[in-house]
Symmetry: C2
């Protein structure tokens, strides 16, 4: 059994303490990197803002982000594991009723960690969490640059010729 | 002031009692019809099932429908007013975080009441209720037959070439 040198607790127990019962470790080519998915560990809003900056998203007032996260059906973080200071390097969230519909928003992986299959692992984990709730259907709006990413993972693009429409608050 | 003959309360007061403070009366060509929109009056699940049958939607177990409604951000009904037994003739609901995102689902108007602008009034009411929450963006997935309906009301179809994708529980 692997023990953490600093904290003297078994490594698996430490991961559960930090990331919750449902956490998932990701396999990456670099053996020194430990990356962990979790829907239970709380998302730090400042870290989330830094991640959004890194992927080039516009900022929102933190109190609105906090409320949006609180009212989301699912929040998933991807952390670069560190026993003292895990670093948030990926994120996704869903809104929905948790029964019939769920919609995925704000999927992000920090540019330094892209290209290692982490986006795919993140989406697979999101779907697993939603399946555990027995959600019937999951939807998302794919930007042109990521259409192939979702198609390759078995998402059904515009089934029945459905089109997406948006209305923006004036 | 118009009084209700049966219940001896002013008509406006009766409507507020039945449909809540935020109700909205719809103007229709038939003067004998009074149609009222409300996000406050409770939706009867049996009536909703009958409405879904009338528009040709497949049935779902009522306990799942109940849970989906409970976890929706907004539920709007359109009633044919009757002081004793209002009849549900239209429906829409939204999921979302109530801050950044809301998504519209299950927009239905009973076939007997279509063609009088009620779908448009229903959607306008949905957007007003979401604006009152200060939601930034509202989204929906439009079937081919209703794309023009939404486009005519100012919805932005596939902005930035976004495409919709669905994943269905196995």
């Amino acid at each position: 059994m692997a023990f953490n040198r600093l904290l003297r607790v078994p490594e698996a127990e430490l991961l559960t303490l930090l990331y919750g019962e449902q956490h998932r470790c990701c396999t990456v080519p670099q053996p020194e990197l430990q990356l962990v998915l979790s829907s239970e560990r709380e998302i730090d809003l400042i870290e989330l803002e830094q991640l959004c900056d890194a992927v080039g998203w516009s900022r929102r007032p933190l109190r609105r982000v906090r409320k949006a996260l609180e009212h989301s059906l699912l929040r998933v973080g991807l952390w670069r594991h560190d026993p003292r200071v895990p670093k948030l390097v990926g994120f996704a969230r869903c809104t929905g009723d948790g029964v019939v519909e769920a919609t995925v928003w704000d999927v992000a992986v920090h540019p330094h960690y892209q290209g290692a299959g982490l986006g795919k692992a993140l989406m697979r984990y999101v779907l697993e969490r939603l399946q555990a709730m027995e959600v019937e259907r999951v939807s998302l709006f794919a930007d042109p640059g990521v259409v192939e990413f979702y198609a390759a993972q078995g998402w059904d693009l515009e089934p029945l010729d459905r089109r997406c429409a948006f209305w923006y608050a004036p």
